[in-house]
Each structure stands twice: as structure tokens, then as C-alpha cells.
Amino acid sequence: MEESRSRLYQGNEACVEGAIAAGMRFFAGYPITPSTEIAELCSVRLPQVGGTFIQMEDEIASMAAVCGASLAGLKAMTATSGPGFSLKQENIGFAAEAEIPCVIVNVQRVGPSTGMPTSPAQGDLMQARWGRHGDQEIVVLSPAYVDEVYSLTIEAFNIAEELRTPVILLMDEVVGHLREKVTLPKPGDLVIKDRKKPVPGSRYLPYAPGEGEDGDVPPLAAFGDGFRFHVTGLTHGPDGFPTNSPSVGEPQIKRINSKISSRREKLCKAEELFTEDADILVVSFGSSARSAKKAVKDLRAVGVKVGLLRLITLWPFPEHVIQRIAAGKLKAVIVPEMNLGQLAREVRRCLDGRAPVIGVNRVAGKLIEPADVIRAVQEVK
């Protein structure tokens, strides 16, 4: 790694450097705007650190290759956007069910379908959460700054490894293509987590919960380590072989959900600004949150009691944070987002009628402007 001097990084570039710092040594992908720089840079950087880059025939195969590489013991990532994210869903579901640690980056662009390839959107908030069939919790992180892309990519790998789960890094075109000053931490200052491995010589049950605090996350052997085990997308028992037995299947399905939902407070990161005495709260994420922050600062400067909650962890949803802030008296909650109200709907669910939720929405590829947010706040007054 280079010395820790400040440098200009593009968001997509910071993602690659963060991934490599986290230990990523495998990337499979199919380039798609606006995520292409991630694949390009991985093809240059991975061979330099002894890793492997593969451009696959499509997104379905890329996600399958990532699952395979992770089961062979490597930290693995893929990156995509729009239609590519839809194609990856089936194998993300496989990774959730088979408990395969991996990171999926989605640099969001305008949809539906091919949409606007070069323009930003935040319309995959719900797809990231609910895009697969069946019940499964998922961790979704959303950076707003280029230096945060770096740190959150590392965080995504750490969570994936610790919880044996796919983690989605939900970026958007603005953050992906933006260049900003980044001061990389010294390698020794980074916290890097690795998956638990079974004890050599022991009988290995790849899906058997164990004892203790993290007992709900079984250790994961790498193929080649000498353990013989079975991996399937079918509902399976502790030994990894398929089962149709409800009494075996139900605990397994519940466990892959509760290992995430039970850690909600630990997983949820958010930035708060002036929330203590706010009577209007602005809730946003990703690049829209930067416009929201500017608006909140400008409004505070003229005495408006407005606060900002920028969600960094989107899923599991930080309902405890929203409910804590809403315990004070809120006149209204404003939700700026580049979609037609996906976050607003979730915030409304959490508030359960305690305050009106007002959306500020754009969907045709232009970043929300601070003036849009200021206008919405002024209309409340």
C-alpha cells in the first residue's frame, strides 16, 4: 500500500482500493455504466496484489463466480448497475441461503429497465432489500462521500465475513463518478475481519449453529482446506444437505434472518446533525443527503430548527434511530431521494402517524438541489 498522503480519488476508484485493503482478492463482473471503472480498476489492481479478475459472460455468471471464489476461501466482490443488479438477484439469494460472504456493489442509475445509463438515481433501495424471493435479511450500506466509499467498502467486507452473508454497497452515479480528496488511513490503522474457520480435524457441520455470542454464524471452511462439505440453495440441515423437513428447515431459515435482524443496533450507522432540538427532520441517504446537509446548514444559519439524519446503513432499517428522534416533537419529516418515495414510505412506517412525512423526489437523472429541500422545509413552516 502507498503512503498515507492525501490524493484525489474517484468514488469507484475508492471502492476498489477499499476492497483491496479489506482483503478482496477476487472480482468477477460484467462492466456496466456507471460502475465500469470498478471492473476496469480491479483488472489492473488485482493482479498487482496476487488476486484474480475475471470478466464473465454476464451478470448472472459473475455473481455465481463470486460465490464460488468465496467458498474457495477468497474475499470476493462484484459491481454492477441497473439491469445488471436485477440479473444478480438470484445468486445473491443463493449467497444468502448458502451463507456465502461476498460484497455486491450497485452504482445506481436511472431505471426502470435500461433507463438512463449515465444518470444518477436511488431507485434500488427497495430492490436491494427485497429483490430475491423468499425471506432473507440483507445488509445494505450507502456512502455519500468518496472517503466514505473507501471506509464503507471495508466495512461491507467485514460484515460479510463476520456474518457469512452477502452485503450490498449501494452507491449512486454521483458518488461513483465524483472525485474528492481522500486521506487513506495507514494499513495498520484499519480493522479487517476474517471469517471464522472450523478447527482442523474436527467434524465439520457447515450450517450448525454453535455456542456463544456469535454462535449463530457457523464457521466456514474453504474448499481445499481438507473439509468435505455440501453447499446448496435448497433448504438444508446442519450438514448442508437438502431437507424437506419443516422442523429442520424452519430453524435454518429463521437463523439466516435473525443473525442480521438481532444485530440491528450494531449494524446501523447514521450521521446526525442538529437532531437534538429539531422540529423538522430531514432524512436522506447517498448523494441526496449532501444536498440535504447543505439545505439544513443554510436553514439553521437563518434560525430554522431543522435537523438532518443521513442514513449510512439502509438495511437493516434503523427504525430505532428514527423513533428516538421522533420521540421529540416533530412538525414534519422531509425525505429527499432520487426515486418516487421508497425511503419516505419506510420512514412513514416507522413513525406510524407521529409526524407527517413529505417527499422531495426526482427520478429523471438530476441530483436533488439544496433549494428543493429548502423549499419543502419552508412549506412546512
Partner: protein
């Protein structure tokens, strides 16, 4: 403090490159924060092209340029499109090789035959470096040395001499513009 720069012209004039070099110089050699964006779309292939830089003494919130304090325009189209966005009291710098008509703006207009000078130096492709030099000389946001280092980090060695020569020339022109306010070169002011 937040200052916005916009470098606008046609695809191929190297203005996105110049904006990245400006941002890189600020990021790696000053204590200031910086955010760089570019017009990104089908239009960037041969059509209009734009690189934007925001410099700030605190973290940049809203990352896009809306009303640049410093606007460099290197085609008539870019000038006609962006002149109206100039921040009040801002400076519009026009490449008089291509910009013949400048709409009335609420700021200062400086004009200089940037592309013509670059051609005289050997290759019109270094016009972007003259433009970048002018911006730096005029604003003092970064020194010439720092810009030269950024050029050497970003561009191939075979191009260093000419690029640095163009930068230096631009820097001097920029300093002259800052000092005298006297208009250098020809151009039409509304």
C-alpha cells in the same frame, strides 16, 4: 469559503482533464477540500464537454457547480450556455480564438486567444493547459509548481515539456489579468 470553477468547451479540448489536474493539485498539495465532477453523457463524445471543480475550506456538501465564480469557456456554444450561470462578481475567461460573442454578465470578462497561442507553441491540444494556467494565475488557488507536479503525475512523460510550457504561459497571463484588470487580447464584450 467555497469557490466554484467551471471549464467548458468541446469534447477533445481536454477540459475534463484540466479540471482533474486542478483538483488533483489541490487535493494532494493543499489543506483545502475539493470535489470534481464532469458532464457525463452521450454529449461528452465530441459534443460539449465540461469539467467542474469546487474548492472549499470545509468538506463540500452539495457536490455540483451551479454558479461558478470562475468560468473558462473555450467554445462559443459553451460561452452562450454557461455565461448566464456566472456568480455575481465572478470572472468569465473566454478563449477568443473561438468565442466571438460574450453575453452581458454580472462580473468581469477576460479574454485571450488561448487556442491560437497553443497552436503557435506547437500543438493546439495544450490549449487546456494554458486555460488551466490562467485560472491558477488569476485566482492563486494553487501555485505553478504544484500544478506542474500534478501534470507530471497524470500525463505521459513525452508531453511534460510542452504541457508545462503552456501552463507557465497561462499562469503568467492569469497573473497579468489579476494584477492589471486590463484585458489581454481581443474579444467582443457586450
Amino acid at each position: 469559503m467555497r469557490k466554484e470553477f467551471r471549464l467548458a468547451g468541446a469534447g477533445g479540448q481536454g477540459l475534463i482533464s484540466a479540471s482533474i489536474i486542478l483538483a488533483e493539485a489541490i487535493a494532494s498539495r493543499t489543506d483545502l477540500y475539493v470535489a470534481q465532477t464532469q458532464s457525463y453523457g452521450p454529449e461528452s463524445r465530441g459534443g460539449s464537454s465540461r469539467g467542474d471543480v469546487i474548492v472549499s475550506d470545509s468538506q463540500v456538501d452539495y457536490p455540483e457547480v451551479t454558479n461558478p465564480e470562475y468560468l473558462l469557456v473555450m467554445t462559443q456554444d459553451a460561452c452562450s450556455t454557461y455565461a448566464k450561470d456566472l456568480a455575481p462578481g465572478g470572472v468569465l475567461i473566454a478563449d477568443s480564438t473561438y468565442v466571438k460573442e460574450i453575453p452581458s454578465v454580472n462580473g468581469t470578462v477576460k479574454s485571450y486567444p488561448i487556442s491560437e497561442r497553443a497552436r503557435e507553441m506547437g500543438r493546439e491540444i495544450v490549449a487546456n493547459m494554458i486555460g488551466l494556467g490562467i485560472l491558477a494565475g488569476l485566482t492563486g488557488v494553487v501555485s505553478l509548481e504544484v500544478l506542474e507536479e500534478a501534470v507530471m503525475e497524470r500525463l505521459p512523460k513525452s508531453t511534460w515539456d510542452l504541457n508545462k510550457k503552456a501552463l507557465r504561459h497561462g499562469f503568467e497571463v492569469g497573473m497579468q489579468m489579476a494584477g492589471g484588470g486590463e484585458e489581454v487580447g481581443e474579444g467582443t464584450r457586450a
